[in-house]
């Protein structure tokens, strides 16, 4: 379970980073192209977005830690010729 713990941290961090940046970027882009552009500059948007993303990641992480028995499934592609 220690390894699981470690993997969980890894996943968490990775996930939050991805989410953060992703959301940030997307937000920024969206906010840039929409009327909410008046709000701020793209950095701000980015920051906002990344912040949102981080926060989302953070809560995801937390939720993941709180519900430790929830398994993460992996999609495994079945090789067509390996039957």
């Amino acid at each position: 379970m220690a390894e699981e713990h470690g993997r969980k941290w890894d996943r968490c961090l990775a996930d939050s980073a991805r989410t953060g940046f992703g959301v940030g970027v997307v937000f920024s882009r969206v906010s840039f192209h929409t009327r909410i552009a008046s709000l701020c500059r793209p950095n701000v948007a980015r920051c906002v977005g990344s912040g949102m993303g981080l926060g989302m990641g953070y809560s995801n992480c937390q939720h993941d830690f709180r519900s430790p028995y929830l398994l993460h499934g992996h999609m495994v592609k079945v090789d067509q010729f390996s039957w």
Binding site: M1, A2, H5, Y58, C61, Q62, F65, R66, P68
Partner: protein, 695 residues
Amino acid sequence: MDVKRICFTSLSLQKCLCGNGAAQPMQSCRRYTSAGDSGSVAGKIVAASLLTVGGGVGGTILYAKWDPKFRAKPVKVEPLQISSVSEASKDSKQPQQMKEKKVAKEEKPPVQQEAPPLPQTIEAEECKECEHEAHAHVVKERPEEVVSARLAAQDRAEHDLLSSLSAKLDDTLGSSAKLTLQAIGAQEAALSAIANHTSKLKEAMDAEGPSDKTSAQWRSLEDALNERSRAADEAGAALLKAKEELEKLRKVINAAKDSKIDAARPQILAAEENLHSMVVDLDRAVGKVQTAQMEAKIVSQYSELVNEAKAQFQKELDSITPEIQANWKGLTGKLSPDDLNSLIAHAHRRIDQLNRELAEQRVREQIHIEAALDQQRLENQKTLDKAVGTAISHSREQMRLEQEKKIEDVREVMEAEMRTQLRRQAAAHTDHLRDVLKVQEQELRAEAQEVLSSKLMEQETNYRRVTQDQLDAFTLDMNAAYARLKGIEEAIDSHVVAEEEARKAHQLWLSVEALTYSLKTAVADSPTEPLETAAKAVRESCADNEFAVALASALPEESLSRGIYSEASLRARFYQIRGLVRRVAMINETRNSLYQYFLSYLQSVLLFEPEQLAPPTKLKPEDLDTFKLLSYATYSIERGDLELAAKFINQLTGEPRRVAQDWLKEARLTLETRQVVNLLSAYANAVGLGTTQAP
């Protein structure tokens, strides 16, 4: 056959003499004897004697032949008599028959003397024998042969006497019979002659024929008269002779009676009877002759009277008519009427005369009748007396004979009865003896049976006891042997079993050792090889042992399939876990945000506790702190007490628990496996120890 014929003729002769036949055969017999009278008398005597002797002999022989079975019985007087009679008869045949009379006569006097003592001796003998028979079981019996010989001798002597007596009797009987017959014949001849004469006389008187006929008649009458007189004389002589002979016979009979031989008695009786009958016949014949004579006398008187009258008349006639011839018959043809008239007148005168005489006669009738009656009465009385006397004597004789006969019969009956009674007594005696013997036999048999049965029982019980003892001993031995055999077998089996057990235990131990060894194959961090094979081997080696099987099956699946980690690896891993657990010590169900995670991390960095703490014997609630627990566990694990460490780790709560879970699981697995293997090895050791017994 000759004997039989002689017997028959003698019997017939006797019959004739006895007068049992009718008058006709008697007459014929008499006529026969009278006809043959002209022959030689001596020859007749010889023939008669021969007949009688032969008759006697034949009679005895017939009797002997008729009763042959009497010869078989030894204690009877009569049968031996018969046998001796047959012997005597055989003997008597040999001597000449002519001399037998004399011989018999000579024998008679000496035999007579023998006879009286003999019967007495015989009777005495019989009584003695009776006594002997009665006391047979006390006194020794006279031997049968001697008795029979004596009896035979006695009987023979008796029979000789008897035969002689009977011969003599028969002889005299025959002679007397002959003479009586002769006398009777003579008497009858006389009777016939008298009758003839009388009839002739009557005829002669009644007949009125020519003179030559009358003369012939008178001549025949004379002849008849002569004949009659002669016959009367003969009859008288014969009568005398017969009477003499009868007297002789009577004497002989008396002598025979005096001899007192029982067997001769019937003969004597018969002879007496014959004598009596002969006497009777003789008397009867004599009586007949007398009556005939009387009649003849009357007739002759009448004839004399008639002759007188006739002579008288003739004389008168002659006086009246002298020229007329005497012959009455010639008168009827030759007389003239005058003669006839004179004759008639004479006749009338005669008639008157006769009437007067008749009247006179009538007067004298009474006197004459009285005189005649008196005379007749006297004569009647005389004859009556004589007849009465003879009748009395005859009847007396008859009665005596009857009495004798009755006595004889009664004697015979008594004899027979006595014999039967004796026989009955003998039979009763034998029956009694038989019964007594039977009873004795039964008693003895019962006794013997009892003794036998008791002895048998004894022997049997003995035998049974002995056999039972033998059996018991044998059974005991057998049982002992069997028990020993069984013991040996059991020992062997138990040995086998023990050895089997030992082998199994050894195998188990080996397999357990293998298992134990396989535990050691854990290399650094990789687990051991899967314990499946070893566990299988263990299971195989202890297939019948439930305990071992249970233990073997109690091995956890993980260990079987994957194997377990060694203690060292667990130790190593523990330290890793330790760090992690330290880092997440604060996290539990309530405080599980990321911030808490950060805080717990901080705590772990900043908190310093001794790495190893000796765990107390009793855990207090404040000892359930994570760090303390960790230190306790570290201490234990350093000491090699994985179990205690696991226990401590088990006390973790929350996230640390989750983190340490897999380690705990591994530790648990290892501990389990080790425990099972230890148990198995201990068990195998114990079993091995148990089985390998000290020699």
